[in-house]
Symmetry: C2
Amino acid sequence: MTATPQHSAPAAGDVTARLQARGIRATAQRLQIATLLLGAPQHLSAEQIAEALQARGVALSKATVYNTLNLFAARGLIRQLAVDDRRSWFDSNVEPHYHFHDEVTGALTDVALPEVEFSRLPPIPAGMEVASLDLVIRLRPKG
Amino acid sequence: MTATPQHSAPAAGDVTARLQARGIRATAQRLQIATLLLGAPQHLSAEQIAEALQARGVALSKATVYNTLNLFAARGLIRQLAVDDRRSWFDSNVEPHYHFHDEVTGALTDVALPEVEFSRLPPIPAGMEVASLDLVIRLRPKG
DNA sequence: ATGGCTGCAAATAGTTTGCAATGAG
DNA sequence: CTCATTGCAAACTATTTGCAGCCAT
């Protein structure tokens, strides 16, 4: 667990190592998806990933994209966001953080954890604990 | 108004009035859906609504349920929630508030506005304003 | 060899659209 | 009567499932 943000160009070997570190076999398709998504902090839909890779000549089906993304999410490599009713977004940033959501364009932007502070939170129901705290600030053009 | 029905739990006339107040013509199906959803503060999925009404012998298709719910949401009578990736939830409480989301059961529970206070929020991007502030506290069993 | 795992075609679930029927003015 | 509006069948899109083939052992 590194606290240092890393935005450096993704070395293929590094991505392979990150997959293997979580017990994920590094197949060709998985490497393509992981390299694309983990290359920078970003939010992509399954469709965007499928299109981007197919445009590069990578042969894969949408089902494989979904299966792979679900697997990555289950192993904590990425995070699936429920922000938009239309489709799922997959976030390469698994550190806790929040989001701006542009209601017009649908664009998602990260809000760093220290940008938000809570001075009061509700009591958590007995026997439960907080799994995550998702804050979405929905934005519209002023006027 | 004459021939007032002496039964019906949440005053049917009141629901009709609430629809008309927002320019929504009160047809039979719409009244059924509105009465069910607005009868109490709650969160229902389109499917739950369709099933509940069909079980009561009301004839309607799922498409009508969706069309009606979308119309209600557009007119501010209800609120559509993007909390769960699987399906949309429709909330009869349009006042600002937050939610607990039980990750195991999928259950949604309201968190009243004063239960949460922010002591710090990020700067809003220029030219934009906050449309809504959605907070979801996801819960899992402790242990 | 072989047994679990992978990746894709087909199936399913969720939601929207197009248009005949309806009913308010 | 008129025509905007309604409600539904069919279409469409997003996602999951079942299974033939593959790969590490």
